[in-house]
Symmetry: C2
Subunit: 414 residues, 2 copies
């Protein structure tokens, strides 16, 4: 099946928001085995919506629209789909009831425009909206299909996963299952080289994604509906793990959110251990990533940002001589920061970061991007030197990622 | 002038990245007074690129492309533009020299494919790439124009600002100048209502953008090239400030990056004051936002994350009785956290956060979203109660924003 995405919304053409809906749907279609040839975005203009729809359906089997389902006059996506297929708009009592109930729950008045949200092209499969007011629908005719989704990302994702994805699976008569492996410490091109021959497979297929210094490998297997895809996926996962070793830090399914921070946190919780932080260049970003994860309080009780030398001495007990002799950006300082934080907090582990994040402050001996990470634990304290490239935010982000990974490797090696 | 954006890149159709280039260009075109009717995205497929280009130019005066300028075989955007206009590709020696110099600097070998990056459709205006290898170009013919930009956002933005924006300005014979006002503490719909009559103006125009609990108002004035737009912008800014008061926290030009954190930091630096943080629910996010800003070390020396009650007592001196009687999520605790952090650090100001960020931990008396912010300063200590809605990340983000704004208002009122 060949599909296109048609995004409707003047706010997209004004650049007020990025089209994250199109990205999400694209990724999911690729995981579901649907081929996508084009994204188109037009404003809330009925003639241009209809024109774009007509063009897209002349090229493809299916069009997935987002946006233009609101209650206002210029929300007209559904109406244009009806017009295109020559289908009259008909009231769906169940949807009207749902819209009414929602407005009532929110304490808002039901307007005539809200009624509009309960009308659909005749014969449409209606997709209730579990997160908002505007229901979506699927209209099929003459071998062509249009799925109409709401624009707000939360509503769109929920409707896609609960209703459109199963519809697509059923229609294709087969099932594509994906598993993701998250990889840290091996770059994209190195990963690609090491796995090169595995990309040629037809079933399962392998694809790589990159972001924040990490690589994600997606293994997708296609099986008849009802069959088990794991028989195809498991050997591929095993082979990747054999080649990349413990650089593979997590395996998970679609829809799961996994990060180095959540992986480290889960690992600590499973071991009944705690971690504290002593941050200089990362300035709170490290502990913030840990506390992003629900349930963090089990493994993270406190953390310190010691940006000044004075704070490093007073809060963490870094010695004045160390700072004088080696400077704040040094392995020695990182070691004392980590030791001091571990001692003061009574945590099992402590991570310390100190470095030159830039844009200023670099010298020939200690350039922007030079970072030391100290890790103190039950097995002693060690420091690692990193030489990172990028702007301030990127250097801080990579420092956090490296620090978390160092803790992961240290703790699992014990 | 009516324009369209044509994005080229299979990674966009696979959902590996969001099309932030299209968002950036859309926003800037709107600021430059160029009307945009459509975004189209196609993969790295020559036939589909050419087809999409042909369609776009049949509807519009100008097409701006991004992507497909790399050295590989399937990077063919420039070539398709040449084919469309019937122009042969010609070598530009200056570009070849620049590509060569860059590869040499990076210590990489110059391949035959890199040569390709120095070929352009005959007569094209070449736009050198200051941040990467692939130059862009502008091709004009028969009243239609195509501007070809690279895909990587940093390269695209640099080329857009340095080269395409001046070209668009010159071509239009007029100049659109924009100023942005950042607003916090008044919601979007309230801001819209208060400013309603100002949206009807033709020159200057007013537009609102939203994000992270903030509203940005854009004032744009159109003047002949060389004239001063401030005479039109200044009165509008004054009127908005008159209506919204000190909810307007910053005014700035295009390309400048402004946030509540950077505004608070600048304010403190100007006053020669320092701030420290004592975070519970925000877990380091607050100080991380402050330290995001280059030069932060002048005003931020340290901060503490005290997630457990034990840490609140030991690090900040919160009293056990306070925690027993009122709990950690209370005004009393926020006050003692802020006082303790200010005392320990010797900073002029201290911000404390404590709340229920969720998803678990809420009770009928203290539901998810209940947050207290304490601010201690030279004029004493006060706590504010916030009732926020959203998921964990959003509640933490809004807490940081509110905390920074409370400090801003407190400090400026002194």
């Amino acid at each position: 099946m060949i599909a296109e995405i048609l995004s409707v919304g003047t706010e997209l053409l004004m650049g007020q928001i990025a089209n994250t809906d199109a990205q999400y749907i694209s990724r999911r279609l690729s995981e579901l085995g649907v081929t996508l040839y084009r994204h188109t975005t037009v404003g809330d203009n009925p003639a241009r919506v209809k024109q774009a729809l007509c063009e897209a359906l002349s090229r493809s089997d299916m069009v997935i629209t987002t946006g233009g389902l609101g209650p206002t006059e210029d929300d007209l996506t559904k109406e244009m789909v009806g017009e295109f297929f020559g289908l009259p708009m008909e009231l769906d009592e169940k949807s009207l009831e749902a819209v009414r109930a929602r407005m009532c729950r929110l304490g808002r008045e039901m307007t005539k425009n809200n009624n509009k949200q309960a009308y659909f092209p005749r014969g449409a499969v209606i997709m209730p909206n579990e997160c908002g007011t505007a229901p979506g629908c699927i209209v099929e005719r003459d071998g062509k299909a249009v799925a109409v989704l709401p624009g707000p990302p939360r509503e769109m994702k929920d409707m896609f996963e609960r209703q459109l994805a199963p519809w697509l699976r059923k229609r294709s008569g087969e099932h594509i299952e994906s598993r993701f492996l998250r990889i840290f410490g091996v770059g994209e091109s190195k990963t690609e080289t090491v796995l090169l021959d595995l990309f040629h497979g037809d079933n399962p297929t392998l694809a790589l994604y990159c972001g924040a210094g990490e690589v994600t490998a997606r293994i997708s297997a296609r099986v008849p509906l009802g069959a088990d895809a794991n028989a195809l996926i498991d050997p591929m996962e095993a082979e990747i793990r054999r080649r990349l070793g413990n650089a593979v830090y997590a395996a998970y399914g679609p829809g799961e959110e996994v990060s180095l921070a959540s992986t480290v946190l889960k690992m600590l919780m499973a071991r009944g251990e705690t971690v504290t932080t002593a941050e200089s260049c990362t300035g709170g970003m490290l502990i913030s990533h840990l506390i992003d994860c629900p349930g963090a309080s089990a493994a993270v009780h406190e953390g310190h940002v010691t940006y000044s030398n004075e704070a490093k001495m007073r809060v963490l007990g870094v010695r004045a001589e160390t700072l004088e002799k080696h400077g704040a950006v040094s392995a020695e300082c990182a070691l004392e920061m980590a030791e001091g934080a571990r001692r003061a907090s009574g945590s099992d582990w402590a991570i310390a970061t100190t470095g030159v994040a830039g844009p200023d402050g670099g010298t020939p001996e200690k350039p922007v991007g030079l970072v030391y990470v100290g890790i103190a634990g039950p097995d002693g304290v060690r420091a690692e030197r990193l030489m990172l490239r990028g702007d301030r935010d990127w250097i801080r982000t990579l420092t956090c990622q490296n620090a978390l990974d160092l803790l992961r490797l240290r703790a699992t090696a014990r």
